[in-house]
Symmetry: C2
Subunit: 460 residues, 2 copies
């Protein structure tokens, strides 16, 4: 694959592109670290808390990390502990984190593609692998605008519903609508309700807009832009977009069926609802589970069959360069295609008449296996730190933190400080890690100076 020297085709005014090209991989993790530390400082200020005192450092750090990494896991009860000032801070941190990963992730993907001389459809002229600062500005504007429109639509629908059906005052309805709209699009997972969205499980006017916002934010802009631009010709999408869009639909459908089957007559979740209610609650929980972090079902009341499903879905996550976490839908399905090709004896991994590069397969393998190793290590560490935590609970919380989903069986507040620090580290690594690793791997390909003789060991 031809790798053009950085800067070779840059225009003079491309200072941002130039800077990103120099250290494209460092900017995202550093930016998130700075945002988390700033957020921690802000959340520690007395006006942020109902008790008007300084929030302990660890609690503030956990909450700030949870907000900036758009996880939504909590160690204090969101509506009880924080004042409106604190809640606005959380909203801003979530918005900054979401926008940061959407733009940062999209830019990194764009730049990696450009540097590797790959076809990319994010920009019209990117087909020629050249772009300038103007293109990047247009792209960022477009991302910001999409975000604003989605959030405005959700806020409006929710606010109207809150006023008309729940007798909220207009101001309160607007605030509640806005808060949850921001959380939904950014897949933040914080809620102003103590029982999260379980109280609205039957009300599609509240949960459906949030579910669709969460799905759109969790698709990511590379896939979203390409899919919407050439929606008439899905056969011509790039592999990444195909895997992300079709894969997300497959996961949504499978999880919907399994959730319905497992929880149908469970009195603590779907049991008491009519069949439309069951379908609605299962669908919205399904939409939120791969990263949204809202819950319309009581997580602790779920059937045992649902836990492995949720853990697997959280681990897989959403689209690349989206507000979703996990190893990403495209990574998961690329590996599935690779295995399928292997079992069939096909030398190439083909996805809809395109061949996936060997380099991508190895990247997917690396991201997936290192993620497994991280989740296993985190689970074991959490078990060792806490006497009474069971393995399935620990695995659930660790996967939820790593995948920045934020669903919880309520374990986080009960953890010792070291355990909370583990979750903090997992949220941070889960947010910036896979993207950074993937792009670093893609950029860091060394030239072959010499090759050793080949052998083909037989494995298994």
């Amino acid at each position: 694959m031809p790798v053009s020297a950085p800067g070779a085709v840059l225009r003079h005014e491309d200072w941002l592109v130039r800077r990103l090209l120099r250290h494209p991989v460092r900017i995202v993790p550093l930016g998130f670290l700075v945002a988390i530390l700033l957020g921690t400082g802000l959340l520690m200020l007395p006006p942020a808390t109902e008790e008007h005192r300084i929030t302990p450092f660890l609690t503030a750090l956990f909450t700030a990390t949870s907000a900036v990494s758009v996880t939504g896991m909590v160690v204090v009860d969101t509506p009880d502990y924080w004042t409106p000032v604190g809640l606005v801070m959380i909203t801003v941190l979530t918005q900054v984190g979401g926008l940061g990963i959407l733009t940062g992730g999209t830019l990194v993907i764009l730049l990696v593609a450009r540097q590797l001389g790959l076809r990319n459809r994010l920009l019209v002229q990117a087909e020629t692998a050249e772009f300038g600062i103007g293109d990047v500005r247009r792209l960022l504007l477009r991302i910001g605008l999409t975000m604003l429109v989605c959030e405005a639509v959700m806020t409006t629908v929710l606010a109207l519903r809150f006023v008309l059906a729940y007798d909220y005052s207009p101001g309160r309805a607007l605030w509640y609508g806005f808060f949850h709209a921001v959380q939904a699009f950014n897949n933040g997972g914080f809620s102003l309700y103590r029982d999260n969205l379980t109280g609205f499980a039957h009300d599609g006017w509240v949960t459906l807009p949030l579910a669709f916002g969460s799905i759109i934010g969790g698709l990511g802009f590379p896939a979203l832009f390409e899919a919407t631009r050439s929606w008439r010709r899905p056969g011509r999408w790039t592999i990444g977009t195909k895997l992300t869009v079709w894969g997300s639909l497959v996961l949504l459908a499978v999880a919907f069926a399994v959730l319905l089957a497992a929880e149908w007559s469970n009195p603590r979740t779907l049991g008491s609802l009519g069949w439309e209610g069951k379908a609605l609650a299962a669908f919205t929980q399904d939409a939120f589970v791969r990263t949204g972090g809202f819950n319309t079902l009581d997580i602790t009341g779920l059937d045992e069959a649902s836990y492995p499903l949720l853990i697997a879905l959280m681990f897989i996550g959403g689209g690349s360069a989206s507000t979703a976490g996990g190893i990403k839908v495209a990574t998961f399905f690329l590996l599935a295609f690779a295995i399928w090709a292997e079992v069939r004896g096909e030398p190439d991994v083909t996805v809809g008449r395109r061949r996936a590069a060997t380099a991508s397969q190895r990247q997917a393998l690396t991201v997936a296996l290192l993620s497994v190793a991280l989740v296993v290590a985190g689970t074991v560490a959490l078990i060792l730190l806490t006497e009474r935590l069971s393995y399935d609970r620990a695995l659930f919380e660790v996967t939820s933190a790593f995948s920045t989903t934020g669903l919880s069986t309520g374990v986080a507040p009960t953890l010792p400080p070291a355990g909370q620090l583990i979750l903090i580290a997992l949220m941070y690594i889960g947010r910036v890690g896979t993207l950074t690793l993937g792009s670093a791997i893609a950029l860091n390909t060394r030239r072959r100076l010499y090759r050793y003789p080949e052998e083909q060991p037989i494995v298994g």
Copy 2:
């Protein structure tokens, strides 16, 4: 890679080779199935049981599968339930299973290597990728002889020890020595003691010969022959042998250290022993855990930190074409090398100045991920079938069955029939599955008739 047409270079008398080449992949699973069914029939006969009645089909099937697949998991108490007649049957089934996988696995690897035109050091003239029936006969004889010598040495040492230190009668000492020697070399895991080998944890004269026999049988002959033949020049070993031998040593050392640290002051395992006793018991348990299935430590008394270690070790397993199960040491370390190369940006995966073929990497990936999927599916199925089984217990038993290790927290006898059938299926698939899959993949490579345009999706 050149694939020579089957039979092209065969001599006329190579009927065995010819037959194996025609369906090399089917012979091993079919042979094991026949042996299991025969064993089930034999074990059902009244003389096999202390109560002199017909053993229920499921119990006999479970025990026969456990013996032939050299797992050693039990649903009835071995010394209490079976008469000497039954125990001889179990010994024969273990020996048949162990010899079957050693010879069948070695032949399959040899034939795959030959058909792919690969360098192979199992036979001297195999360097030229040609061999006849005489070579194969010599190879099989050598495997059988190594087995007999190892078992004879272990039997002798154990029998002497039993007579001298435990006052056994000579006949009893010989029988106990022989039974455990056969189990150790074949990594069968059945024991004549109700508490397995925990009663001998302090006695190296009993446990060390069994540990070394288990390690040798679990290395497999491809690695064992090459390593012993050219032990002066380990740099010239093939990749498979390097990964298997050095990888096994690394795993033994790491597990030894972790076990010692985790169990050092645990009163139910190492706590009551002196430091030599601790080291001995930890080493022997370490040697048995990747497939032997004996236990010198009380499995239910282990520290919580030891479970994930044991599960990981069982899953990795032993050498290719050995009596060990799991995904195999070479598979695991080949993936580790691939990830390491990826993170460093190396285009090639090199292992000691040799380059591992891309095909092998993809095979390793396929074997590992399908195994993960199988273990996860088995664990979930077991959880759904049993109300009170915890996830860590279920995962432990499923991994133990799949990896044909046979270590148990005592769950198997308490399972409903469907649960026992799941473990039976896992033992069978674990025994023949990875080898069959790996060789089928290696042989089934189709020719490329056309290639689609390449894309490099960015993952993570």
